[in-house]
């Protein structure tokens, strides 16, 4: 497995992301990852706190908000893959990274179910299920963000090619 990580690290794309002095390499990809976080997790959290602060929900046209959130997810997935290509062993040998991925998958599942609770043609009560989903969403994004930040402090291997 370490040989595979080392081969990925030697790809010209990986080397460019890691070692290029250009701000468009590692720094800009990191920024895109943060921008995607703000668009996906940010708007999701915005919807959660809005829902939790109400007893009744007015009719709400959601498609455009969900489009922005899915665009954020796309930016995050792409920038995340690029960051992973730069340091595959750093992430894939750390259980915190897998915790982050698991939380993202569950948070996206919750987001889709929340859509059904928010959508409606007329004003309706906020259901207990909707509140539980919103709480779960807040918790999942919090764990995701903590796990993402703690990756920098919990990894045991930075580059597989250095150990071979």
């Amino acid at each position: 497995m370490m040989e595979f990580f080392a081969n990925v690290e030697r790809l010209s794309l990986s080397v460019w992301i890691r070692e290029s002095p250009s701000l468009l390499a590692f720094p800009f990809i990191l920024f895109l990852h943060t921008l995607g976080l703000a668009m996906l997790a940010g708007l999701n959290v915005g919807l959660d706190v809005w829902l939790l602060g109400r007893r009744k929900l007015p009719p709400f046209e959601l498609p455009n908000i969900y489009r922005v959130m899915w665009l954020g997810f796309g930016i995050n997935a792409l920038s995340g893959l690029l960051l992973l290509a730069a340091y595959p062993a750093k992430a894939l040998t750390n259980w915190v990274f897998f915790l982050k991925l698991l939380c993202i998958v569950i948070a996206l599942w919750v987001l889709q179910h929340l859509k059904g609770e928010l959508a409606g043609t007329g004003e309706h009560d906020v259901s207990t299920r909707a509140r539980r989903l919103a709480f779960a969403s807040l918790l999942l994004w919090t764990v995701t963000i903590f796990a993402g930040r703690l990756l920098a402090y919990t990894h045991h291997i930075l580059l597989a090619s250095e150990g071979l």
Binding site: P27, A38, M39, A41, G42, L43, G46, P58, N64
Partner: protein, 165 residues
Amino acid sequence: MLDAFIDWIYTTRLSWFVNNYRWVWPTLESLHFCSLTVLAGTVGLFDLRVLGLVKGITPSALHATLRWGVVAFGVSAITGVMFISGASEQYFYNDAFRMKVVFLVLMGANAALFYWREFAGIQALGPRDDAPRSAKLIAGASLVFLAGVMLCGRMLTFFRPPFFH
């Protein structure tokens, strides 16, 4: 003058606290990102409604969430001050940090302009009403300034002064 100020910061108990426990800095970073997420989400949701990308709901119904944005900004500011107390040179001798402060000031001025000129009119809008163009400009600028804060925040590490390690 600035060096003397930095030396004084390092004598404070806050600086000692940030630098003497290994768990403090990672925790502050995580809290800073959590608060950024809440700020971006609550402000972003309201801005999208003013811009007309979200319809079917009154802006006033979404405005209530902005108080969480204010709380998040407070957490960001507190964690930000703690970062500065722990590694002052990294921030005071850093062009990315200076630009981040510029974007924060622009965000504040933009928000003040919104409440001064547009807020009353926006609160009176119905679920399907369009906001005036002037309010849309302010909402668009708000999103641009927020992205600027995030961009400069991310660039901080890459603009550290050479002597800082």
